[in-house]
Symmetry: C2
Subunit: 207 residues, 2 copies
């Protein structure tokens, strides 16, 4: 083929990819902490130590780690994500809930009302969150520009086909649109393992 | 509605269900052992102790448990499934491979050629399988009668929609048809957690 034709095909493939595919990210277990709970666990006025920016603007992983404990066991070295939030919240996988021995609901981040209590500790400092243990519901963050491009709207429920070593289609995936987001699909590690996720795995929106 | 109409609707729903849905089972980590490896781990001529029949005819869980060990860690209390097989084989989840510190391929049961080695122990008896560690590829067992009913054939790759708390569609699911089978969809615990599996979860065949 001529060089020009090749370039045209490359451009078409690139344009198609940009209209069809969204990168998938897998979220490990983590905790968000309130000011009050940071004060208790790490000391009054303690400031979290950002070590790595996450894909969503303004969100970062911190150097701080905590242990979370349920009736059946503990999970150590749980990363604290910043910035601090109004309410503390622990996000784990269903596999983790078995290790902890607590049933937790599958919820959107922030929707913790009536979720189970969980013990959080840092060394000898230990507190019980009266609620806040959830399994994160799969979702997609999207910029308003990308929402137009992909023809989806905030709150819309779509399907996403994932091309990994274990292909599957995630149904019931909620789109969240905000100018404060970057466009990424978020799944947890059970879901990541179920689809054979590796860094760079792409999801195709199916409506 | 009249009693007769209700009965008719019930019959139709039942008939539809039987043509559309297959029950899903989640398989935990387990090991199949050869005669030679049973001799080594449990003693010459040792007979496995069946404690629970599995859904597939002639297959059973045994009272015997072993420990499997990789470079990063061990998994204790791994159930032995009977009857004995020609070659020993360990089936784990991707989550388990991280705990063991071994990468394992996603394969159909029995397809172990070139898969990683794994250490298996019972008390102070320890052996190294030169190959045999796999992650089970999702699949469906089906009777020839059901294959006709569902209009699928041996080796066919289908999709299965699972109706759980986290609905998804498993793509790339291989159908295996044999008169020695009972009809069930088999997934592993990563996949089970990803779809919110509970006992009795149904999958709908999509072609």
């Amino acid at each position: 083929m001529s060089q020009t034709l090749n370039q045209m095909i490359d451009s078409i493939v690139k344009a198609l990819k940009e209209r069809l595919f969204v990168e998938v990210e897998a979220s490990g277990r983590h905790i968000h902490l309130s000011r009050k709970d940071i004060d208790f666990l790490f000391g009054d006025g303690y400031q979290l130590t950002p070590v790595k920016d996450l894909s969503q603007p303004g969100q970062y992983a911190c150097a701080e780690r905590v242990t979370i404990t349920g009736p059946k066991g503990s999970l150590k070295n749980v990363v604290v994500l910043g910035p601090e939030r109004k309410s503390s919240q622990v996000e784990v996988s269903l596999t983790d809930t078995l290790a902890l021995g607590i049933k937790a609901p599958i919820r959107q981040s922030g929707d913790i009302k009536g979720s189970p209590q969980i013990v959080v500790s840092n060394g000898d400092k230990q507190l019980t969150l009266s609620e806040g243990l959830i399994v994160a519901k799969r979702h997609m963050h999207m910029t308003p520009e990308d929402a137009v491009k992909f023809n989806v709207s905030d709150g819309e429920v779509i399907k996403v086909k994932v091309f990994g070593t274990r292909p599957l289609i995630f149904d019931d995936l909620v789109v969240r649109v905000s100018k404060d987001f970057k466009t990424y699909i978020h799944i947890d590690y059970d879901e990541a393992n179920a689809c054979g996720f590796t860094k760079g795995t792409l999801g195709m929106i199916i409506k």
